[in-house]
Symmetry: C2
Subunit: 345 residues, 2 copies
């Protein structure tokens, strides 16, 4: 780090101020508002240096300075303190997660977005688990009547059901049960991802005498399992963006909200790997559409497996310390709950 103590103090003060006011910060403001023990003229000189080094920018000659992406980066990495959550906030998180933990996982995920967006005042996006990663616990063939069968696949955190399968001739329940048992023997314990054509044909070959009925059931079952599930995206608090003056210009707001309509883009944004909280600032993002936004992302897990991820998106002038603190707590609590509820050794 090529920043001396004093420059760091000034940079930190400036960013703290800017995060609150959204106005370019001048040397005099810093001198008055923060007790750094130096005059505005000195601060002025230091600020000119900080600008040369790329940490600050000046919207125009006679304005104060605002942080650059690089400035925010230093701030996030080294300068910002860590925030404590209030008891109230902690309660809110706990209650919200507890109150829905019994339901199916997508309902939980959806509820999460609401709490997070209420707590942070930013837009929250969550990617629900892709069923592909879930593990088969049981397969059940259900006879609707003697010509219609439906397959239900229970996995550790989802239930996949095939569409109704029409058979060419009636099947009796013993036969169906036998087939059911074979399927269970062969497929239980695999993830949906792992079930591929090779395994399917193994199943088909391992038994004789049922090929006809197998041929009717298997393709539809396979298709249902492989129905490309891209991981549902849930959004909450899109209109929170209007709270922030940088989006008071209609075209800015339009750009932001149009971006949120592109689910594929969001999916990519959320497809981060890794465990910890990741902050992506302005142009660090791969997409032009969000080059003036920051995103704080993390993934959530069942056991040790990452099953989905979520992100909080707002202006680069984001209240990073708060958002990070909330997300950190939230994720760890959520992971615990999900794991204790859905984890199967």
């Amino acid at each position: 780090m090529d920043l001396d103590e004093r420059k760091r103090h000034i940079l930190k003060a400036l960013i703290n101020d800017y995060i609150v006011t959204a106005e370019p910060v001048g040397s005099r403001t810093i001198a008055k508002r923060y007790r750094l023990g130096i005059s505005s003229a000195t601060i002025r000189n230091e600020m000119a240096d900080l600008e040369d080094m790329g940490y600050l920018e000046q919207p125009h000659t006679s304005a104060g300075r605002i942080p650059s992406d690089k400035g925010y980066r230093v701030y996030v990495d080294c300068l910002m303190g860590s925030e404590k959550l209030s008891n109230q906030e902690i309660e809110l998180i706990k209650n919200s997660i507890c109150s829905v933990i019994e339901g199916e996982i997508n309902r939980i995920i959806k509820e999460m977005t609401k709490v997070l967006s209420a707590l942070t005042n930013y837009t929250v996006m969550v990617m629900a688990p892709q069923t592909m990663n879930s593990m088969v616990k049981h397969i059940q063939l259900i006879a609707i009547d003697d010509l219609h069968v439906m397959a239900v696949v229970v996995t550790n955190f989802s239930v996949v059901n095939s569409s109704s399968i029409t058979l060419s001739r009636p099947i009796d329940s013993d036969k169906l049960m036998t087939i059911n048992n074979i399927l269970n023997d062969k497929l239980k314990g695999l993830t949906l991802e792992e079930i591929n054509l090779k395994i399917i044909s193994e199943v088909q070959n391992s038994v004789t005498g049922y090929s006809e009925i197998f041929n009717e059931i298997i393709p539809i079952l396979y298709k249902s399992l492989k129905k490309r599930d891209k991981g549902e995206i849930y959004l909450e608090g899109s209109s929170n963006i209007f709270n922030y003056p940088e989006y008071n210009a209609i075209d800015k707001a339009k750009q932001f909200l149009t971006m949120l309509d592109k689910k594929d883009l969001l999916r990519n944004l959320l497809s981060c790997d890794g465990d910890s909280i990741k902050i992506s600032i302005g142009h660090e993002n791969q997409y032009d559409e969000i080059s003036d936004c920051s995103i704080v992302t993390s993934s959530y897990k069942i056991g040790d497996d990452v099953v989905g991820s979520l992100g909080i998106i707002g202006p680069t002038r984001m209240y990073y310390s708060k958002v990070t603190a909330i997300l950190e707590y939230f994720i760890s609590y959520l992971n615990d709950m999900l794991t204790s509820y859905y984890y199967d050794k």
Copy 2:
């Protein structure tokens, strides 16, 4: 109708013009653009009358006129012609519905929003079917292992699954099957709505010897069935609103998009009954938030049962004839598809 022929022509011309340009329309514009065979001065007099009668409004003294809600109402009820869909549009609708009709119903519903919003350029909201209205086709108890059971209820258009039920002592598969059969006998053919505590206790009383296990399974099954399902709301094309100049003012856009975040409000808007397409203009709406919007709604059906509804929302200056035409075609096609796919006599 207290409007003579000439007034009607003028009103129609004015609204047609305003729908396209979004600018107050002056007498001279109408005289030039539409061949009504009368001079601008005459039109001016008629327009003053129309304003007195409440069909037009004047934003300020020296501006042209714009339609009032009452004006739009007459237009929608009597004046606007009916629009023909292009072959291209028809194809688009057919393909979109066909391409997803195999999946589960919510996926279809979701896809619908996309097509409609692409075709109309407005915001589309859809309320998915409430599972409450669906009819039990089959109940299956699935033994995950000898201490865990799960109940799956297949209905005509959804699959409801209970959470995993932990039993206090192991159960053998014969016993489970017997219970399963009893449940099927008693509940098959009922809608989820119709299954209430009375019926449940009838089931419980009608058999002896299984009470212990029944007592463990029934409450959880019942809870799953009754899990309040409010009918998921799907939105598409929220940012379409930015295409329309009346939302160029940031606070207008904010108001609109904040309104879309209120799912309960949308649910109420969509909870219309009745069969046909309904148009709700400006202040005719019950909510202040949308007093400058119009909504075109309709419900969709499986067989003769209304299962959900959808709405297209935009500025009162809406391209009513087009929207109506598209929605009409869309709904009738959708009804046919849903019915042929999900209808069970």
